[in-house]
């Protein structure tokens, strides 16, 4: 069972349109991290959001922990925003300190001119 569900699976936008990406979790988590990835490329951390709303430039993440969901809003999309957006939830290691990330499969965003 996929513990982190992302929607939509893919999204095509015209340049300058806004995007709303969704992430939901089947189990409780304390924190959510959003990443950006080009095909076969490095994961770039976009936003690290324990709860509430967090903004970085054109990106806004809203996480509601008790409802087990998070969203990523991209405003005024640009062609260079094209790629895969991954959501990951933080989970503690049982019986020891530290954490791990459990990832969704991602949303593939394509921004057209």
């Amino acid at each position: 069972e996929q513990q982190v569900q992302q929607s939509p699976a893919s999204l095509v936008l015209q340049e300058a349109e806004n995007a709303e990406l969704q992430c939901s979790f089947s189990i409780f988590t304390n924190q959510v991290q959003w990443f950006y990835q080009r095909p076969g490329g490095r994961l770039v951390s976009l936003l690290y959001n324990p709860s509430g709303t967090k903004q970085s430039g054109r990106l806004t993440s809203t996480t509601v922990i008790k409802e087990r969901r998070s969203s990523l809003h991209i405003s005024s999309s640009q062609i260079t925003d094209s790629g895969t957006y991954l959501c990951a939830m933080d989970r503690p290691f049982y019986g020891s300190s530290g954490n791990k990330l459990i990832f969704g499969i991602g949303t593939l965003l394509s921004v057209k001119p």
Binding site: Q33, L43, L86, D90, S96, G98, K100, L101, I105
Partner: protein, 114 residues
């Protein structure tokens, strides 16, 4: 931002051969991780480490070993590589202190086992 590097970036290995993937981080983070990424599965945790000398099994450790000889370096070892281990491997580091679990990723290693 944390600097995490991986080597090699691409590797072709033969079935039954030994493969070592290396990771280095320069921000003195306590925790390091190895993930693999496969189509339809997302990233999955293979091994992790709390600090020099420690290694722990993640969610899919079978067929893999890990080594953390120093704070900066964390290796993933495939003693007998199999085609099912063809994947993209990512190393990550993080402070791991309570309230700060953000992880920073390396560029990935594409491994093909023939």
């Amino acid at each position: 931002e944390a600097a995490v590097t991986q080597s090699p970036r691409n590797k072709v290995a033969v079935t039954g051969g030994k493969v070592t993937l290396s990771c280095n981080q320069t921000n003195n983070h306590n925790n390091m991780y190895w993930y693999r990424q496969d189509t339809g599965h997302g990233l999955r945790l293979i091994h992790y480490s709390y600090g020099a000398g420690s290694t722990e099994k993640g969610d899919i450790p079978d067929g893999y070993k890990a080594s953390r000889p120093s704070q900066e370096n964390f290796s993933l070892i495939l003693e007998l590589a199999t085609p099912s281990q063809t994947s993209v491997y990512f190393c990550a580091s993080g402070e791991g202190q309570t309230g700060d679990y953000e992880q920073y990723f390396g560029p990935g290693t594409r491994l093909t086992v023939l």
